[in-house]
């Protein structure tokens, strides 16, 4: 049946600059200074090493469940590094590397995953939201922040992270739609790591790309090689600049892969083939970026040891955290404690005084297995 085709027709672009063979498209290479490149590279190494350390801490029972980032360093750092401190960063639950870049102390992140609410506290004036556990629910917050920035006449940009699975949630749709209508400065960064726990992308959506979902909101969408830190940077740079210039939101799909477990409670051998992982290991964002840095003669000696030391010091500080005071659980619920909570707090205080209350459950910083190098027992 012949019909009119509506204009404009739609298209989605794919961006890759530094591929897994190390080939560089010099015309597209972003103009980053050696210092900027070194900082980015260091952050990627730190992201990887911290992740590995955290998995060990978790296995020793010193952290609760958390979501490792291995393989997604380029997606996170290529994008977050385009932000200014006055911009906002809205994470999901798998942005450790990006959060460290934004200034979250490592020991705070460890505390967070050790079950301390203190770990969720952003620094004074820090324009980062804490980790959001319910998938996609943080995306409308990003749009609201961007609206407020525009309302106040400030040029802050908001960058929001989410996964491929998150695109199925109603909140993701509503957030993108509001951002489109309000034309606010948000950059939506979808880390398409191919899996939502055990569910592969093809069971998540029938659309070929996530980038094309932008068409539903009259918003530019682009797909980038998410293991190519230069491509992610370039796409994010453009989107951030456009947002700051008042030209509205962008959806960036970073095609990447979660090389490790979904969370430390997950067993990926149940649902995915070893070969697939192997295949993606060939595309490791670190390998590629290391080759690039080597070629530019920007590799620093001893970087890994430096980074490991930084991590070790943070773990020490984490372990030195005093056991939590149960009474502070009431502290930040309301601006002022209402009477019924004053009563509940008093009752708990009485129980604590009388020894009737259980030991504060501080299993976290306390090593459960044999102490490791650079680790000491919790001070009490």
């Amino acid at each position: 049946m012949p019909r009119t085709v509506l204009e404009p027709r739609f298209q989605v672009e794919y961006l890759s600059i530094l591929d897994s063979e190390g080939h560089l498209d010099a015309a597209l290479e972003p103009k980053l200074s050696p210092d900027e490149l070194r900082a980015l590279y260091r952050a990627m190494i730190l992201g990887r090493r911290l992740d590995e350390r955290m998995v060990r801490l978790q296995r020793q029972g010193r952290l609760g469940t958390f979501a490792p980032i291995k393989g997604q360093e380029a997606s996170q750092l290529g994008s977050v590094s385009t932000l200014r401190p006055t911009d906002w960063m809205v994470p999901s639950f798998r942005e450790t590397a990006a959060m460290v870049w934004r200034g979250w102390p490592i020991e705070k992140l460890l505390l967070f995953f050790a079950g301390y609410v203190e770990g969720g506290q952003p620094g004074e004036g820090q324009r980062d939201l804490p980790i959001a556990v319910p998938v996609a629910t943080q995306l409308p917050h990003a749009v609201g922040l961007a609206y407020a920035a525009q309302y106040r006449g400030e040029d802050a940009v908001v960058m929001a992270y989410f996964g491929d699975g998150a695109t199925s949630e109603g909140d993701c749709h509503e957030a993108l739609n509001f951002a489109g209508v309000w034309h606010v400065p948000v950059v939506f960064v979808c880390q398409n790591n191919q899996w939502a726990i055990s569910v592969p992308l093809k069971k998540q959506t029938h659309s070929k790309t996530i980038a094309q979902k932008a068409l539903a909101y009259g918003m530019p969408g682009i797909q980038v090689d998410g293991n190519d830190v230069l491509a992610v940077y370039a796409a994010a740079r453009e989107a951030v600049d456009r947002a700051r210039a008042g030209e509205g939101p962008t959806l960036i799909e970073c095609v990447t892969y979660r090389l490790g477990v979904h969370t430390t409670a997950d067993d990926p051998t149940k649902y995915r083939a070893e070969e697939e992982v192997k295949m993606w290991e060939q595309k490791d964002p670190l390998t590629r970026f290391t080759a690039y840095m080597r070629q530019k003669s920007l590799l620093e000696d001893g970087l890994e040891q430096q980074v490991d030391e930084e991590i070790a010091l943070a773990v020490e500080r984490f372990e030195a955290t005093p056991p939590p005071d149960p009474l502070t659980m009431f502290d930040h619920l309301y601006a002022e404690l209402p009477p019924h909570l004053v009563a509940q707090r008093e009752e708990l205080a009485r129980r604590l005084r009388e020894g009737g209350a259980p030991e504060p459950d501080a299993p976290a910083p306390t090593p459960r297995a044999t102490p490791m190098r650079g680790q000491r027992l919790t001070r009490r």
């Binding site: 917050h141 309302y151 509503e174």
Partner: protein, 326 residues
């Protein structure tokens, strides 16, 4: 003093708060040009512009979710959900985030925002347009839950809610919107959130009510006075959560008897908490079990049967008499 109905009184509160504080913005479906389907936001977009009075797309979760973002930035959003029956669409944003942001960020951020919605029956409406869902919000730690009973306290409590550092879910009875006019002082006024009012003093029995049921309780008290010579004390909760247990318990400690009235379904409803709190606070003074007069545990009855479902004066009087005769 001018006499205003509740719609106009709420509109006045919004207007004055917006004048007072440029961070106050309004957000919701049809709140702008249309002035809200009940006209509570009437004329505000014309006065303050479409950046401050925002006609949102039709999506409750994003209304609340973007409201959260605005609040985290430092604005004071007043979100309207068109009917309380559609607030379950954003219930996850309310429970997961609005109620928790201060706690989660350990005081760095706050969700100083108001979520307004019309609730309750009495207006010959369709399904999801007649229900009373206050219980769901009252059980969420971190929220405050307010239900005014008349134009003056509606205006004063809405102003207080907007200034409150914590998130407030604000229910407005559709049945009361145009029910009666009341003197409302022209200058700005706030009533404290968390405080119940003694709407009528009495020593024989306590009637606890709020929202549209206050009138029912008051009229029941009139009947009891006239027909039985019984002096009922009537409490107007105004705030459901945090519940003003002190005022409730003090009254029942005096009267020894209580009847709680609400439009929400009975089981696991707000009357249960009130009854349990009375038992805890005034057990030895209780002469009779606390009675609950509530809607039946039925989700929707249709307006043709609504009067047989929602508490009325006769039911409250009957419950009071049984309590007195216990």
């Amino acid at each position: 003093m001018t006499k205003l109905n509740m719609v106009k009184a709420l509109n006045l509160a919004l207007f004055q708060e917006m004048e007072r504080d440029p961070d106050v913005v309004i957000l919701g479906e049809d709140v702008g040009v249309d002035g809200g389907v009940f006209r509570v936001t009437d004329d505000l977009q014309r006065k303050f512009g479409s950046q401050r009075v925002i006609d949102s797309p039709l999506a409750e979760a994003a209304i609340i979710g973007t409201g959260v973002g605005m609040a985290l930035y430092g604005l004071r959003p007043v979100c309207e959900i068109q009917f309380s029956g559609f607030a379950f669409q954003c219930f996850h944003q309310i429970e997961n985030h609005v109620a928790r942001y201060r706690l989660r960020s350990q005081g760095r951020f706050a969700c100083s925002m108001v979520i307004r919605m019309p609730y309750g029956g009495g207006v010959r409406a369709l399904e999801h347009h007649t229900e009373s869902e206050e219980q769901f919000y009252a059980h969420i730690p971190g929220l405050k839950m307010v239900i005014p009973s008349g134009p003056r306290n509606a205006r004063a409590l809405l102003a207080a809610a907007i200034r409150d550092p914590d998130p407030v879910v604000f229910f407005e009875s559709k049945a009361l919107y145009h029910a009666a006019k009341e003197e409302v002082p022209p200058e700005s006024e706030t009533f404290p959130i968390g405080r119940a009012q003694v709407a009528r003093e009495g020593g024989d029995l306590t009637l606890v009510a709020y929202g549209a049921m206050l009138r029912v309780a008051r009229e029941a008290a009139d009947v009891l006075q006239a027909e039985d010579g019984v002096a009922a004390e009537v409490l107007d909760l105004l705030t459901i959560s945090p519940l003003d247990r002190e005022t409730i318990v003090a009254s029942v400690a005096k009267t020894g008897r209580a009847v709680v009235v609400h439009e929400a379904p009975r089981s696991f409803g707000p009357g249960a908490e009130i009854a349990a709190s009375i038992m805890e606070g005034a057990f030895l003074r209780l002469e009779a079990p606390v009675r609950r007069v509530a809607a039946h545990d039925v989700s929707f009855v249709g307006f043709a049967r609504e009067k047989a479902n929602v508490p009325d004066v006769a039911r409250v009087v009957a419950a009071a008499r049984e309590t007195l005769a216990f």
